[in-house]
């Protein structure tokens, strides 16, 4: 038992992780070696010093509020099980055999191939043929993908195999999870501005849901319509304080949005969290460098009203 061993196990000793026999040897050496004894005392002082700040007990109000909030959320949450007892837990099995990366890739490839094949078959089944073999015009929006292009060398005729999308209809209220999923997809549809607008308007009423909130944040970042982005800001304002993703998205909008109205709205919504480090830093940059006079003066005004925490 030497001093190096004492140093290596000092932390285990002060946190009572040493086995009984090792602890005995440790204490025996520390009693006899002055340098090690001082080291142990210093480490124990350090541990005591850190205990000056105890872990605070939870206030009853906080606990009660948390429980009530959880209870309300549980009522709206579905378990992703119930049938799991009767279904082979493939993900759990993958975790156990630790082949997750390779099998995930294999699954993805199988899924993609299966989806492409199904789309191809559906497209082939529904594709109408004219009497003379002429193909009716196909809308670009309904084409899922091009499978193959073959050219006849003699006649120079091209044979192109392509897949088409099959149209489906879903009905339900905005509380229906499937409807919500479709609305989330609709909110980022690049081809239909009206679908995007309506999806976002409907989703804005349900911004308490985390996934929907993420879709709204995405719309704030990517939608080309400033009115849509303003509506999204309005729907996210209640979450600025508590959701760091919302706060980050608002900072980004304040800094970079091309529309002055969106930028000033984001700035005004960030007033309540102006003490946040990243918000303050962003405001400082705007106050010093922004090209727009209004944004610069507003940023200075907000900073002047911010307590100095440094």
């Amino acid at each position: 038992m030497n001093c190096n061993w004492i140093k290596e196990n000092l932390v285990l000793y002060i946190y009572e992780e040493l086995a009984d026999d090792a602890r005995y040897e440790f204490e025996h050496h520390a009693q006899q070696c002055l340098a090690c004894k001082r080291e142990v005392e210093s480490a124990l002082d350090f541990k005591s010093a850190l205990s000056i700040q105890p872990v605070p007990e939870i206030a009853p109000n906080l606990l009660t509020a948390s429980r009530m909030k959880l209870q309300a959320a549980l009522e709206e949450t579905e378990q992703s099980q119930g049938w799991n007892r009767f279904i082979f837990d493939f993900a759990g099995w993958m975790q156990e055999i630790k082949l997750a990366p390779a099998l995930v890739v294999a699954l993805l490839m199988a899924g993609f191939a299966g989806g492409a094949l199904t789309s191809y078959r559906l497209g082939m089944a529904r594709q109408p043929q004219g009497a003379t073999g002429q193909q009716p015009p196909v809308s670009a929006a309904s084409i899922a993908g091009i499978d193959s292009i073959v050219q006849d060398n003699t006649s120079k005729r091209l044979v192109i195999k392509y897949n088409t999308l099959a149209s489906q209809t879903a009905e339900g209220t905005s509380e229906d999870p499937q409807i919500q999923r479709l609305l989330v997809m609709g909110s980022s549809d690049p081809n239909h501005a009206d679908v995007r607008k309506l999806s976002i308007d409907l989703l804005a009423a349900r911004s308490a849901d985390t996934e929907i909130r993420e879709a709204l944040i995405n719309a704030l970042r990517t939608d080309g319509d400033a009115v849509v982005r303003l509506n999204v800001l309005e729907s996210l304002k209640s979450f600025v304080r508590n959701d760091v993703h919302v706060r980050d998205a608002l900072v980004e909008a304040m800094m970079r949005d091309v529309n002055l109205g969106v930028r000033s709205k984001a700035l005004s919504l960030l007033f309540s969290v102006r003490a946040d480090t990243s918000v303050r830093e962003a405001l400082k940059v705007l106050a010093q460098q922004d090209k727009d006079d209004f944004i610069r003066s507003e940023a200075k005004r907000v900073l002047a009203n911010t307590p100095n925490l440094d």
Binding site: V11, L12, Y15, E17, S42, A43, F46, K47, A49, L50, I52, Q53, P54, V55, P56, E57, I58, L62, L63, A65, S66, R67, K69, L70, Q71, A73, L74, E75, T77, E78, Q79, S80, Q81, G82, N84, R85, D89, A91, G92, R241, N242, D243, V244, D276, T277, S278
Partner: protein, 224 residues
């Protein structure tokens, strides 16, 4: 005759040695607790929300205490609490009893806390004090009940200054170091349990604790 009594009698009879009645009582309580937990877990897996809420009540104070001490914010602690138990509810069907429910739930909580610490590190927030849900700061040292505080304001001031230095030093740890140190020093967990919760080995947890304490000791010495 109650099952607990039968267990005690069996232990005494088999070995011929007397077992300390207090220890035996604790063992029985622990065994009964595990049996009760298993029943609750299985009921929750069948979709029994009341059973799940009963399970939550056994662990939620500890979870909230951990999240509050790590984040320094009541709002963030509530978010972690909410997200952890919702995740547990959604995925309780995947719980295969390969570890205790306590370890399983703490695994979820520690991952969420680590995510929070990583985000905070990126944003360079130090959170020197706890904030309540209205954003008002709460000084931790106000919560220490000390009859002598008023009689010795200088000591009180020194304690506050040390507290601020400790928070600053803790803020300099990596998220993983902070997490391990929190679980060991403030929550009092064994390194083996910490390793299980963080999905690593006891040895790795020990090395992380070693680095964390070294950094803290060096930081506190430098601040004198």
């Amino acid at each position: 005759m109650p099952a607990g009594t039968a267990v005690i009698r069996g232990a005494v009879g088999a070995s011929g040695q007397k077992i300390n009645s207090h220890l035996a009582g604790a063992m029985v309580s622990q065994a009964l607790g595990r049996i009760n937990d298993s029943d609750l877990i299985r009921a929750a897996q069948r979709g029994d929300r009341v059973a799940f809420e009963t399970l939550v009540r056994q662990y939620d104070q500890a979870v909230l205490r951990l999240a509050l001490h790590l984040t320094g914010s009541e709002a963030d602690a509530q978010d972690i609490y909410q997200e952890a138990f919702l995740k547990a509810y959604r995925h309780i069907g995947n719980f295969r009893f390969e570890c205790s429910f306590y370890t399983w739930i703490y695994r979820i909580v520690t991952n969420l806390c680590l995510d929070h610490l990583r985000k905070r590190q990126t944003r360079k927030e130090d959170a020197p004090v706890i904030t309540d849900s209205a954003g008002q700061e709460i000084d931790l040292l106000d919560r220490i009940s000390d009859d002598r505080a008023m009689a010795n304001p200088e000591r009180d001031l020194m304690a506050r200054e040390l507290g601020a230095k400790i928070n600053l030093a803790l803020g300099r740890l990596t998220p993983r170091e902070r997490m391990v140190f929190e679980l060991k020093h403030y929550q009092g967990l064994r390194l083996r349990t910490i390793g299980e919760m963080l999905n690593t080995t006891e040895e790795t947890a020990k090395n992380t604790l070693f680095r964390a304490t070294q950094k803290l000791r060096n930081a506190l010495v430098a601040m004198r």
